[in-house]
Symmetry: C2
Subunit: 244 residues, 2 copies
Amino acid sequence: MKRPCVYVVGIGPGEEAMMTGQAVRTLEESDVIVGYPVYLDLLGERFREKERLSTPMRQEVERCRMAYEKAMEGKTVSLICSGDAGVYGLASLMYELSPEYPGCELVIVPGITAANSGAALLGAPLNHDYCVISLSDLLTPWEQIRRRLLAAVDGDFAIALYNPSSRKRADYLQKACDILLERAEGERACGYVENIGREGTRVTVCTLKELRERQVNMFTTVFIGNSQSVLQDGKLVTKRGYRL
Amino acid sequence: MKRPCVYVVGIGPGEEAMMTGQAVRTLEESDVIVGYPVYLDLLGERFREKERLSTPMRQEVERCRMAYEKAMEGKTVSLICSGDAGVYGLASLMYELSPEYPGCELVIVPGITAANSGAALLGAPLNHDYCVISLSDLLTPWEQIRRRLLAAVDGDFAIALYNPSSRKRADYLQKACDILLERAEGERACGYVENIGREGTRVTVCTLKELRERQVNMFTTVFIGNSQSVLQDGKLVTKRGYRL
């Protein structure tokens, strides 16, 4: 009998063209696809015939157990995550739970995370050293987020911000900008991308001072340039340092 | 006549299965593929019939101009980068040069960068806030690299290190570890992946103290956990913080 296995698959930002060949093939070869309902919908018609299982938001532990249990029954299981499975995705939680399912293998299939898919639409904001920071304080104390924002400015990193807003955290981007503005100039080049790889994609550039006043939705990735980044014809560009 | 356009395409770590559908289709539809010779070789047989142009290492500016000039002649041109085109790739340099080629459009096609493809092989090292830092001082003063390494530890970020070594910089990983060890404990969970997505892929976990003594080659991506990361059955795992 084959060894039980769960594939933890990053499906990228949304449209199938942005999945890797490896991710598409893994889903094709799966009996069961487990995921958050919104992500299952993103897959579209192509995988409709698969057994599909989901749990609501904040029931990630149950979702992971569901994937393990189906695998222990002998099914080939893909647990899908938006973007990359290892960037705020379920890869680490699956490893944490793995001692409870001895003999079950885990294979992580990477995908394009929003930092990189968003950057491609915005120009080249992360073309030098960069940080990725989530503004969600559901699992991380705000003091830790604050410490990371300040360290990112101190190191002069370009920054990609995930989860900049939600219904309950409408002012979090503003709070983050205020922290950044303690040490970065108001004219710092910034930008954001809404609905990457989905209907209604929209790209905006602005300064850090302007960003503070913007209301963005939860499907937005925000980019803060480093001290050398520039706005150029509607694009945010962070130079690598080549001599021209 | 169609508007001239260069596609700057991230081809991921190497094997075609790790390219996105969008990247494969873009190369298929191109007349000319421009790239560093090693990256052209990574593409394998599939795109052999295309016109292929390259320049040696450190002639990146000339390579970019070559891509622009072919596009201005009316050819459909893909300029390829390993990993993601916007992570230490040629996307920003193409934007810098764009004023010299008025009317030529740039489209950035993202790919899986080594931070994410390497993380998938190593476990889940970047599953919380993380930094990406290159140890190459060809274009960045070492003092800036040092400053970023310290800021990354101060912010308690997980870290992916690119370009950890080269023939002329054989001791750079050791130097970087010494800087990290000024503020991080020797038992910090770490790991590295050699030849991601290519022949000879090898995954190793170790502590920061042990990492300092390792000699890695230039096709290696190094991962430093945050203060909460753990080594678990040969994997490096950075928890997101779910309650079990």
